[in-house]
């Protein structure tokens, strides 16, 4: 019984953290383009000096 008194609030707090994270992700527009997000991991980004494409 004593355990319940602090375990339940902890569980709720963790759950609220998860919910908060989801809502933040939603607000920052991360759910607007599900297909694009799935495919972007496969894109090759150029190395850091991509603003000098002299090697064409």
């Amino acid at each position: 019984m004593n355990a319940l008194l602090y375990l339940i609030p902890i569980a709720l707090f963790l759950g609220l953290l998860g919910l908060g994270a989801f809502l933040w992700a939603l607000r920052s527009g991360q759910f607007d383009d599900p297909e694009g997000a799935a495919n972007r991991i496969l894109f090759d980004d150029d190395p850091i000096d991509e603003d000098r494409p002299e090697s064409g």
Binding site: L23, L26, D33, G36, N39, R40, G56
Partner: protein
């Protein structure tokens, strides 16, 4: 046959200079991609045969981007564009890379789900044209739009549903955690103090969640009630609110049963169903948006002093003289005052072979001027043009269609009063039997909860989403929620001819000597006439080729004059046979060569007509073309009932006369009103935007098979929806007597609800399983 290295289409015509490309534009695009070091695009890309091919459109009408560029306070310009021709993720990569390589571009982001491109750059706003040209040169179609106008209400609604779903999910998980403890406690001797604590905790989590996550339902229910109707959201809202209220009062009294978990999981499942529903309907607004965007082009007007002005279409008046350049879309209805040219009337008549335009001939807004500049006396502008008239016919027809009430809503109309009545009877019955009123109310609430509106609410959206997803995988796009139901009910199919039964583009037939073909191609490359384009190859036009509108092309060579063009102009005697579109090549020292073109039937047209016949449907053709060509096509395809020479109004009238549930398949602007008026309609993706917007279903590719596929899937989906309703009612049949008798505990209610929802979803998944 070799494939073009850039766009993947077949290389036809002369193998001109290098048979690697199908046209000049593709070769240029290939060189651009190579030059930017982005050649890995070609390895990664997967051509989607159903999308618009990546052939740069050389005679696309000029669009003025200036009006759409927005400039922020920090001096960064922003332009929103819709992209056409996205084949796969490699295209997204290529477009973003090409744009970010431009020095002044700050960011370029392409949303693959909505196909919208947002470009931000510093410097001059006029750069917009150059940036857009960089992408269109690769073969994509770009159209600017105003993001404020376009339905972002859709996106806001989806976000709201996602937020509600997240909150409901969080609450459902935690409340269920507590409820399972309570149920276990019933069997294991949990003391009332613990039970009450758990109930209070459940109340703390559930009540705010119900208040927030239920808003979409409460709002819809209130709207319906104020309009004097009852929809599915009314019993849902009543059940949820009553359950929460009763559970709270039970908790206050220290009673043994609380229904918080039922209320919250009910909300969660319903929100899942609602979100899926929203995703299924939210696609393909883009066709209608493109139509809006089409009106952006400015009109060049010649004023009384002879100077030229560019004015927006709204300022053009009757009697003004408008100048239409070669390759430009005509923006007004009018009569030709000066000039001869060929006009592509396919927008209005459906025919891809251009019509000659000479002084005094009538031209219409929306058609494409092909070969030479024209001066037109304006007779009608804006709302008075034929184009606007056709769009109005179409909108009127759509109003009629919007009144169709889906099966789910019809069930809801019956279901809601019955359920409420039952709960009321239960309450009064138990009161009369002497139970105290809180207990009786609890039993009545149990009846409301257990009548499983979640299974019913899921029954239709789940099937629709799975069916739409499966069809989308085959290149068939369902655009409206009730399209599947209406498609399942059709008994008769009407086809348009050009562009629907046929491919809609002229193709060269027959074999020709390589030398003849090469010479013809080198002349043809200088013209935008569709027949010439079908002949041309990727080689550059021979220098010195001159085009005579309405007649053909000529080239002066040292040996004499070479002509490529119509029969009379080349001096060939007319033998009276009606041979369809053709071009003749004459020159010094060579026999005249005839190049014949046909508008080929789609490969499986005859097979599809036969399949439709076997499925028990009557098939007809309604076309705007001449009787001779229509009857020839009808014979080839095996259709006995056909009509030719039909105007858009005629087509609508014939559909109405047919009476029975008709499926219309068409592509031209002249089909758009019929598409909107028919019980259900399909349109190929090569159709113009208005027709795509009017049709229920858009299918891609060169085959007619999607018509059969769509009908088959729609019929199966209809069967599954009815099965789902049957299953939901079966559950009700078992659980309602239990609830009325007061035997339903929260445990049983939650089990029944989850089980019924899962069964309904499982049944819907059968759609995706079998072939």
């Amino acid at each position: 046959m070799a494939s073009c290295l850039h766009c993947g289409l077949e290389v036809v015509g002369a193998g001109g200079g290098g048979g690697d490309f199908c046209c000049r534009g593709c070769r240029a695009a290939y060189e651009v991609v190579q030059g930017l070091g982005l050649a890995s695009y070609y390895q990664r890309r997967r051509i989607d045969a159903a999308q618009r091919p990546l052939r740069p459109d050389e005679d696309a009408a000029a669009v003025d981007h200036g009006g759409y560029v927005r400039t922020g306070d920090d001096g960064i310009h922003c332009l929103h564009l819709m992209v056409e021709g996205l084949h796969c993720a490699a295209c997204v990569w290529l477009i973003e890379k090409v744009l970010s390589r431009e020095p002044d571009v700050v960011s370029a982001r392409l949303n693959m789900t909505t196909r919208r491109l947002v470009v931000r750059w510093r410097g001059e706003a006029a750069r917009a044209g150059g940036l857009v040209a960089a992408v269109t040169a690769l073969g994509y179609g770009l159209l600017p739009f105003d993001p404020a106008l376009v339905a972002s209400a859709d996106q806001r609604r989806n976000r709201e549903l996602l937020r509600a779903m997240a909150v409901a999910g969080f609450a459902a998980g935690n409340v269920m955690l507590l409820s399972v403890s309570v149920w276990a406690g019933h069997f294991q001797g949990m003391g009332p103090a613990t039970r009450d604590l758990l109930h209070w905790l459940s109340a703390l989590i559930a009540l705010p969640a119900i208040a927030y996550a239920g808003v979409p339902f409460y709002r819809s229910a209130l709207t319906a009630l104020r309009a004097g109707r009852v929809n599915m959201d009314v019993p849902i809202s009543v059940a949820v609110i009553l359950a929460a209220g009763m559970s709270l009062s039970e908790t206050l009294r220290g009673g043994p049963h609380a229904y918080f978990d039922s209320a919250v999981t009910l909300l969660f499942f319903l929100l899942v169903g609602r979100y899926l529903d929203g995703r299924a309907r939210g696609r393909a607004r883009s066709a209608a948006e493109r139509l809006l965007a089409m009106n952006a082009t400015a009109v060049t007007v010649i004023d009384s002093s002879g100077g030229r002005r560019t004015v927006p279409p709204a300022e053009v008046r009757q009697g003004m003289i408008a100048l239409v350049a070669a390759g430009e879309r005509i923006a007004v209805d009018g009569r030709v005052a000066e000039g001869t040219s060929d006009v592509d009337n396919s927008l209005v008549s459906g025919e891809s072979v251009p019509v000659a335009a000479a002084p005094e001939s009538r031209v219409f807004a929306g058609t494409l001027n092909l070969t030479a500049p024209l001066r037109i006396t304006v007779t009608a502008v804006g709302e008075d043009t034929l184009l606007a008239e056709i769009v109005r016919l179409m909108e009127a027809a759509e109003q009629g269609r919007a009144r169709y009430v889906g099966l789910a809503d019809r069930v809801a109309r019956l279901y809601a009063p019955v359920v409420h009545g039952l709960a009321l009877v239960t309450f009064l019955g138990w009161l009369a039997a002497g139970m105290e009123w809180q207990q009786a109310l609890l039993v009545a609430v149990a009846v409301l909860i257990v009548t499983c509106p979640c299974a019913l609410a899921l029954a239709v959206p789940v099937v629709q989403v799975i069916a739409s997803g499966r069809l989308l995988g085959r290149g068939i796009l369902i655009k409206s929620g009730t399209a599947l139901e209406r498609l399942a009910a059709v008994e008769r199919v009407v086809f348009d001819k050009t562009g629907t039964l046929t491919l809609g583009r002229p193709e060269l037939t027959g074999t020709h000597a390589h030398g003849d073909l090469a010479l013809a191609a080198s002349l043809a490359a200088a013209s935008k006439h569709p027949l010439a384009r079908a002949l041309a190859s990727s080689s550059a036009p021979a220098p010195g080729v001159r085009e005579e509108p309405g007649r053909g092309l000529r080239l002066e060579t040292p040996e004499g004059e070479v002509r490529l063009g119509s029969r009379e102009w080349c001096g060939i005697a007319d033998d009276g046979a009606d041979r369809g579109p053709e071009m003749w090549l004459t020159g010094p020292g060579r026999d005249p060569v005839c190049f014949a073109f046909t508008d080929r039937l789609r490969a499986d047209a005859a097979a599809v007509v036969e399949t439709l016949g076997r499925m028990g449907m009557e098939v007809s053709i309604l076309s705007g073309d001449r009787a001779a060509t229509v009857s020839a096509v009808a014979e080839q395809v095996g259709i006995t009932h056909w009509r030719a020479g039909r105007t858009p109004e005629d087509k609508c009238a014939e559909l109405a006369a047919m009476g029975r549930k008709v499926l219309m398949v068409g592509d031209g602007l002249n089909d758009a009103p019929a598409l909107a008026a028919a019980h259900a309609s399909l349109s190929p993706a090569t159709a113009i935007d208005v027709s795509q917007a009017a049709a229920d279903v858009v299918f891609q590719g060169d085959l007619l098979e999607p018509v059969v596929e769509a009908i088959t899937v729609a019929r199966r989906a209809d069967r599954l929806v009815r099965q789902n309703f049957a299953l939901a009612f079966l559950y009700n049949g078992v659980t309602i007597p239990l609830a009325v008798l007061g035997l339903v505990t929260p445990l049983l209610a939650a089990l029944a609800m989850s089980a019924s929802s899962l069964v309904v979803i499982g049944n819907a998944l059968r759609l995706g399983r079998r072939r």
